[in-house]
Symmetry: C2
Subunit: 520 residues, 2 copies
């Protein structure tokens, strides 16, 4: 590569001899990345091979893309653009595109440094995140980087630097108000829609809570999916700002906004690898909080069988990191270590979870969901001094009992564009139902989050809003043969069949074990 | 995913409900991997997303492929097959293909174990290589694995296990003769066509040397490229066997045979990352030697400025590893640490290198090329006891002087299907020439391998057989202003221009520095 000859890193404005021009051919395929197709002979004559990265220039805009080659689809002087890149370049058919060799990204040296165990400084981390945002690092390079951060670890300084760089990579919410509260749950618990309760509680108390939530990746529903049953969750940052200024709170889909943008790119690699290097996890979460201007945040770490964090010691260590890092980043953090071994609430799936939420707001509902929400909301009330230490839970409870939380919730729904008068009977609940009956008498020793989640997904959640599982028992309950353990809801018979097949895959003995435990 | 519900790893012969059938649509694009296109809506309804991996079944054959999605190119019930996978499945247009979710590969656990620093046993390494061969591991997963092996290191037992698994992944040459010699150069030196001399020398002495060589990846020519000027280098394993049984030796392109197949897949990830974990490098090389049944091997480790290994201590450590691992694998190894700071020979590029080779075989030629080849060949003669210790170099020299090496070389050329009567004047040498002239009087302090290589490539090597560089000076030479330092050869004026532009990118001062050094 000629550009490499300029080893001293001099920026080369003269087109390398290997650069050339092409006319765009639009290919209507979603490729999952910025990929283009070049004519095989022409590319190789220019020393360009499959999977190489090149810089494309179109009407002054430059973008990096990965190369596919073809002898048939594109001829000499042509370049095939897959969907994503055609959109990003705003290129039309036959438009002139310049193809240019890409110099080795500066960040690659820092990736190698981290592989070799060096501590990266803030400037170097900034370069890595910049190159990440410009797609200069390939998936394998990013994977090697993630693995290296996992094995070598990140120092507190590196985590702070990473957090700040991730924040800078996206937009930041400037509410101009105070106090701004936030919450994060490390995850792994089915149901668990505490956000949809603590937001109205805390907002009703006069605190600001611009809450962004995610859609489900592998679970039966994310908070954004469940909230979307009641109101739109897709907003621009400025729209979210207006909603929160009017109502104090909102529950929006984070993915629609450009907050902590680099984190989305990192998650794309972390998730398939199931590698969440501790430092990256911390930076990821803290960056999201910082991006909305949070001054106080409650971190919920569920532990126990089936939860993401296995034991108290690990949870405490993680929690301490959150607290000390938060301090350096200007966020006051409190950590709650909660029971993550069972689902929270009865419903699992968007419509069914909404039903739980309304029941709690109306004064009843699943007790575990109500208690946990009051605990989280109460902690927030105490943290910013709204309420005396020790009185948070009671204050939160009172806000529910008085009906203020329900009023605020309806206000938020309306502000987000939903029907504020929505009733429980309006909620989408699948019409095809199957009751799973206890085969024996005994006591429930465990309700497996994963199984419940999987069955709910198989039934169609979250795309089918009314699909999911509704639990009629919980850990510790005594059941008699013939009692309903849980119901499966689906929006069609065939999907109900899917869910039943999913259930069948668990050995009947296994099923009893996981649900009924030892007979007592 | 329903398959995941069967957490106890029970093999599920029943089609998951998310499996479905499609008709093949052939897409004539080389994608650089096994990639297919599914209809976006249909795939997502089956919980399949871009970059997911699925198992395709076609007429009983199963293959793993990565997913692209499209709303336009393929409709419901259709699957688009890129070139590689259409070939592998031998699928025709409209053929029925079953699309099946893929369970998590067993090797992923071992990838994570290595990330966590565990030592893998032979069975586990075997599983990883098996899954690698079946494309069950994605590029990011492989990259994480390579990074982990680099950071955590591999024990000798792991390297042995990896070597054996790589050998098993491909074919093995059973020559049925003895002694079988081999050689490997760790690389980084331009020119350096010692193989094309030591093979005929050693074969003429009655030893067997089934030599496989590679094509250039980033250099101006690989041994396979240069040999191909004289004769075909692409053979099936059985053809190579026949050639070697007739002539004792050959110089074939390793990539055409299925030797150490897993190594090719590993190189695809190692190379872009520029990560060659020591243990993987050792296993890679030893597996290739073992695959051809080598009993004796000489490893050439060039050191010095610009070479891959920087200093003697590093070379010795690597060399010791080769020797002790080789012993455990049944290969007697000797290591030569040689001077890698300058190109070897005068020609750089296929035709020009052939010219050097013939000149040496005819009794003259570049002295450094002749000396190094006799050193390597002589070592081989000593190792298997053909010649007394200390007399190898002389014996090799004699074989050249007597003309026996040239006769043998022509015999090998003929057996490989080339013209045994080929003369130096028949060799392809580019007709467009540019002389690079010394601007000052002085002494050559250094000739940079990388620059020479880059200029030769820019001139068109190795695809243009006659392109390259011919050196007229070497380190230590005194030159006078006006002397020719080197010539650039190309097969067209435009390519010669390319090469000159490449040369220009080096600052004139830089150029003098790298070629002329300090004025003495």
């Amino acid at each position: 590569m000629v550009i490499c000859l300029n080893g001293n890193g001099k920026k080369d404005d003269v087109w390398s001899m290997k650069d050339y021009r092409c006319r765009a051919r639009l290919i209507g395929i979603v490729a999952g990345g910025n990929i283009i197709v070049l004519n095989e002979q022409e590319a190789m004559a220019h020393d360009i091979y499959p999977s190489h990265r090149v810089i494309l220039r179109c009407r002054g805009k430059e973008i990096i893309a990965k190369v596919d080659l073809s002898s048939d689809i594109v001829g000499f002087g042509e370049i095939g653009l897959f969907t994503e890149i055609a959109k990003e370049l705003k290129a039309s058919e036959s438009e002139i595109i310049d193809v240019k060799h890409m110099a080795r990204p500066a960040s690659l040296q820092y990736v190698k440094d981290k592989i070799e165990g060096k501590e990266l400084n803030a400037e170097q981390i900034e370069v890595v995140i910049d190159d990440l945002m410009e797609n200069k690092l390939s998936e394998p390079e990013l994977a090697a980087f993630i693995a290296a951060m996992h094995i070598r670890g990140l120092t507190h300084n590196e985590i702070i630097a990473l957090t700040n760089s991730i924040v800078k990579s996206g937009d930041v919410l400037n509410l101009g108000k105070s106090p701004i509260m936030d919450k994060h749950c490390v995850g792994g618990v089915a149901g668990n829609r505490t956000t949809m309760l603590l937001v109205p509680i805390v907002a009703a108390a006069g605190l600001y809570i611009p809450k962004t939530s995610s859609r489900s990746i592998t679970s039966a529903a994310g908070t954004a999916d469940t909230m979307e049953v009641l109101a739109p969750v897709t907003f621009e940052l400025e729209e979210m700002r207006k909603i929160v200024l009017k109502t104090n709170g909102c529950i929006a889909w984070g993915g629609a906004m450009n907050l902590a943008a680099a984190d989305d790119k990192l998650i794309k690699i972390r998730h398939p690898l199931s590698l969440d290097p501790r430092g990256v996890l911390l930076a990821s979460i803290l960056a999201k909080k910082k991006s909305v201007g949070a001054q106080y945040a409650v971190i919920d770490i569920p532990i126990g069988r089936g939860a993401k964090i296995m034991d108290t010691a690990a949870a405490q260590a993680l929690g301490n990191d959150f607290i000390s890092l938060g301090k350096k980043l200007g966020i006051v953090i409190e950590v709650l270590i909660t029971d993550g071994s069972d689902p929270i609430g009865n419903g699992v799936g968007p419509g069914l979870e909404c039903r739980d939420v309304f029941e709690v707001l109306e004064g009843g509902g699943p007790m575990d969901l109500r208690d946990k929400s009051c605990l989280l909301a109460g902690t927030m009330l105490e943290m910013c001094g709204k309420v005396e230490k020790g009185r948070g839970y009671t204050a939160a409870s009172e806000i529910i009992k008085s009906g203020k939380a329900l009023v605020k919730f309806r206000e938020i729904i309306a502000m987000q564009g939903g029907n504020s008068k929505v009733k429980s009977s309006d909620l989408p609940i699948g019409q095809c139902v199957h009751k799973v009956i206890a085969q024996k008498t005994g006591r429930i020793s465990h309700v497996d989050n994963k199984m419940i989640s999987n069955v709910a997904r198989a039934a169609g959640a979250p795309l089918d809003r009314g699909a999911g599982v509704y639990l009629h028992c919980e850990m510790g309950d005594k059941v008699v043969a013939g009692d309903t353990l849980f119901e499966i809801y689906a929006e069609s018979e065939s999907k109900l069949d899917f869910a039943l097949k999913a259930l069948e895959v668990w050995e009947p003995v296994e099923l009893q074990k996981v649900v009924l435990g030892n007979l007592k």
